[in-house]
């Protein structure tokens, strides 16, 4: 299955997605944050595509916006797609997908911890990597400054 | 002659004091001697274990302090003595402090019955084996107390595991001993050894004795809390198990007692199966104190077997431990007793 075929199939499932990178090694999809749960569910449950393996969940600070990049893979076809969701900087909030992909559970905690992206309906957005009493903001954001950081 | 050394001491003491005072002094002397034996035995066995472990594990083991690293354990003991005794705040402090003494006291009490040679046995009671098994089961209380009183969950789990383990494996040890008692017809240790002059019990009682020996070795390993039955400590699961919160000398008591217990189990095995201090074919029976040599050799042989187990096998899980005891060892043991009784009845023993 080529990237274009995947693109056509996904377009049939859900509209309003922005595609790019058909000629590169994986397809990139950008979507609205309201649709992410819907898209994920459909991608996973679709018989032909069956993107059932959450390869990674990456929080990104896009500058103006925050966002999450999901990499989904199909165990059957071994095709990889990249889904980008953006949210505004203040009160950043994205729907959780941990009930669709259990693998997302701890990754979402990580993204929340480092970027301050709140995952709606996630049961326990605790401090995982940082100390429990951490209150100095979100260290992976680009505007985060700390005197201990080695500035070059 | 050397044989008279005990009578010499006795007469010497009588010259200076009354008979009763002499008796008490002698008791104290013997107690002190046994305390010394306890300490030296413990340290030597720790050294042996570490050395043997080294060779098993492609290393050398302690070899820096003294010849062959013999003083390494003494250095360790000195270090432990000098260490601060710590404990948890919420520990049940009295029980916490008493607990190690249960273990060493029982180990010492059992040690009194061990026949190092024909001449050296402090307490030759006519219910010797019975006394040994009953005393050795008191030691568990020390471990149990340590687990409870430390107020540490790891200790508690360790302590609870001991309870389960001891209740089960006391049975097997006891029944393996009973099997041999059926053959011997006596509980007195010196008599049991005397009976083996014609041949060790492991040969006299052939198949049932061999089975009893194997069961005794397995259950004995469990009794002395060694791999594969070291669930009580289980360092990869419970940190250090029941003695997690013990430090310094309190810890050393447990540590030494563990090794002395191993020595006691090995001695019982030697007494029951390999003729105690008897030399093979009676070659050195005429020489006094030669028994000590043979006894040591045999005990070290059995202890080496324990060590071999320890450095080869993985650890059981708690339910598998119970399965092994109740589904395998105990039924086999019962059948074995009947077999042995039949053999003795029919006169099939050698």
């Amino acid at each position: 299955m080529t990237n274009t075929e995947i693109k056509n199939k996904i377009e049939k499932i859900l509209d309003g997605l922005v595609f790019s990178g058909e000629e590169s090694d994986f397809l990139r999809i950008e979507t609205n944050k309201d649709k992410i749960r819907d898209l994920m569910k459909k991608l996973k449950e679709d018989g032909e595509l069956s993107f059932d393996y959450l390869f990674s969940l990456t929080g990104v600070d896009f500058g103006e916006e925050l966002g999450v990049i999901y990499h989904l893979e199909s165990v059957k076809t071994r095709k990889l797609i990249q889904i980008t969701v953006k949210t505004k900087r203040e009160n950043a909030e994205i729907d959780t997908i941990h009930d669709i992909f259990p693998a997302a559970y701890f990754n979402e905690i990580e993204a929340h911890e480092f970027f301050g992206i709140k995952f709606k309906n996630h049961p326990d957005l605790k401090h995982l990597f940082l100390p429990e009493d951490w209150d100095k903001g979100y260290p992976m954001r680009k505007d985060y400054t700390d005197i201990n950081m080695l500035i070059r | 002659m050397v044989l008279n050394i005990f009578t010499d001491i006795h007469n010497l003491l009588l010259e200076y004091m009354s008979e009763e005072a002499t008796h008490i002094t002698e008791l104290i002397l013997i107690a002190a001697a046994y305390l010394g034996i306890f300490a030296i035995l413990g340290l030597l066995l720790v050294w042996l274990e570490r050395r043997v472990a080294g060779f098993f594990q492609l290393r050398l083991g302690p070899n820096r302090v003294g010849p062959f690293g013999l003083f390494q354990t003494i250095a360790d003991a000195l270090k432990l003595v000098s260490k601060e005794l710590t404990g948890t705040v919420k520990a049940d402090s009295q029980l916490y402090r008493i607990a190690p003494y249960f273990v060493i006291t029982t180990a010492l009490m059992s040690l009194a019955l061990i026949p190092f040679s024909q001449e050296i046995q402090a307490f030759d009671i006519n219910i010797g084996l019975f006394f040994l098994t009953s005393v050795s089961s008191i030691g568990v209380i020390g471990i149990f107390l340590a687990g409870w009183a430390s107020n540490n969950k790891y200790s508690l789990i360790g302590g609870m595991r001991t309870g389960i383990q001891m209740i089960s494996y006391e049975l097997s040890v006891g029944m393996a001993i009973v099997t041999m008692v059926v053959l011997a017809g006596t509980l007195q240790i010196s008599e049991i050894i005397e009976l083996q002059k014609d041949g060790w019990f492991i040969f006299q009682g052939h198949i049932p004795a061999v089975i009893a020996f194997m069961i005794f070795m397995i259950a004995g390993t469990a009794e002395s809390n060694r791999v594969p039955f070291d669930l009580v400590e289980a360092e990869s699961e419970l940190g250090a198990g029941f003695h997690t919160e013990y430090s310094g000398m309190n810890f050393a008591y447990y540590f030494l007692a563990e090794f002395v217990n191993m020595f006691i189990i090995a001695s019982i095995a030697v007494v029951l199966f390999f003729g105690g201090w008897l030399s093979p074919f009676g070659i050195t029976d005429a020489i006094p104190f030669a028994g000590l040599f043979w006894f040591t050799i045999k005990v070290i042989g059995v202890i080496f077997l324990f060590m071999w187990f320890r450095w080869t096998f993985p650890r059981f899980r708690i339910d598998q431990l119970l399965t092994l005891e109740w589904k395998y060892l105990l039924p086999i043991n019962m059948v074995n007793i009947v077999l042995m009784a039949l053999m003795v009845w029919l006169g099939l023993t050698l």
């Binding site: 090694d25 059932d52 992909f101 259990p102 401090h127 940082l130 | 594990q57 790891y154 669930l231 339910d319």
Partner: protein, 372 residues
């Protein structure tokens, strides 16, 4: 009677704090266990005791400088981690490396895999209680470490890959030493089976323990030998061959039982496979340059890049978002251990504490890899 017991005997679930200083947690992992007696009801984890924020550090480092940081992630598969960065940049900039580089990288990968698995085997034995296996595992590991040290200059953080090739050419003793190792290891690997794999106590301890189904394995994002023990085919060396993996003949080891023993068997078999790859390549290292000249300042064109390699623990991925600068905008290390650890709770439901230790060691975690 049953009712009486439940009424009168009040049992209580309690929490046990396992780690961060605990021998079975392989470093500084903290597990919060909810226990009912010895039976595990829930496992929660607390990470980050050696979190160094390598991802953030990468954002202020050039691509060349990132490489040595990846050594410090999964230190037991440092070569693969290095290679992932190099492959990513080489692919992005269309740098074609010579066959010699590819073959050497593959051989180093497999040596690293063996050394990692050998260490895992030793530690696994130790976790189960057989202390001697640790030293036997280290005997082989030392041999490999010597090979590494002679060629790369370090035993653990090898840092041998550079963008466009390798830091040094192979040492002249390399081939001889690898052949020696193959001969030695072929004799010792059956010993592993005799000592541990076939041991009845060991088998009873891990057979049927820590089961995870194929479906769950995919859902939880398991990868590497852990997933292959559940029957998921996920070997990146087969799916997206890199370096010289397309020209060697090896099998992807898959067992379908899904328990700890299956994961154990996968790793043992993988050692045999790695050995066979080494055998195929050791005599056929092509001549050629060991390093391609690259620009002094490497800038990736704007875009998203992803490179995956099969590290010893599984599917190591590196995702780079570049804005065309000499520093990456965002680097994400997709660590195999982290994904595998998320399934721990699922695997250990209703097992005993001793089983948790066994399952944890068959997952084969490396905490720096998880904490990043």
């Amino acid at each position: 009677m049953e009712e009486f017991l439940t009424d009168q005997l009040k049992t209580q679930e309690y929490f046990l704090n396992m780690g961060p200083q605990h021998p079975a947690t392989h470093g500084v992992l903290r597990l919060l266990l909810k226990l009912d007696g010895e039976i595990i009801r829930n496992v929660d984890m607390d990470l980050g005791f050696i979190h160094r924020s390598i991802e953030k550090m990468c954002e202020r480092n050039t691509y060349k400088q990132i490489i040595h940081l990846t050594d410090r992630l999964d230190y037991l598969s440092s070569h693969m981690n290095n290679e992932a960065v190099c492959l990513l940049v080489e692919k992005a900039l269309n740098i074609e490396v010579s066959d010699r580089i590819k073959v050497i990288r593959t051989m180093m990968d497999e040596l690293t895999r063996i050394s990692s698995h050998v260490l895992w085997w030793g530690v696994m034995g130790m976790d189960i209680g057989a202390l001697t296996t640790f030293m036997y595992g280290f005997r082989e590991r030392e041999m490999i470490n010597d090979i590494f040290e002679e060629t790369c200059g370090a035993r653990l953080t090898m840092n041998y890959n550079v963008i466009g090739g390798l830091r040094y050419d192979l040492h002249e003793n390399f081939v001889k030493r690898v052949k020696e190792f193959i001969k030695h290891f072929k004799k010792k690997l059956p010993e592993y089976d005799k000592l541990l794999t076939n041991n009845v106590i060991f088998r009873k301890r891990i057979e049927g323990v820590g089961y995870i189904s194929e479906k769950d394995a995919v859902a939880y994002g398991l990868n590497g030998p852990t997933a292959r023990g559940s029957g998921v085919s996920c070997d990146i060396r087969k799916i997206h061959p890199y370096s010289a993996y397309d020209r060697v003949d090896f099998e992807e080891v898959i067992f379908t039982e899904g328990d700890s023993y299956a994961r154990y068997k996968v790793r043992i078999q993988e050692m045999w496979q790695s050995l066979s790859i080494l055998e195929q390549l050791v005599d056929k290292i092509p001549e050629g340059e060991y390093r391609v000249k690259t620009k002094a300042v490497i800038k990736l064109p704007e875009g998203d890049y992803l490179q995956r390699v099969e590290a010893a623990r599984g599917d190591f991925g590196i995702f780079v978002k570049s804005t065309g600068q000499k520093f990456p905008y965002r680097v994400k290390f997709r660590s195999p251990g982290f994904a595998n650890l998320t399934a721990l709770n699922k695997m250990t439901q209703g097992l005993k504490i001793a089983d948790l230790v066994a399952v944890l060691s068959t997952i084969d975690i490396v905490v720096p890899d998880i904490d990043r």
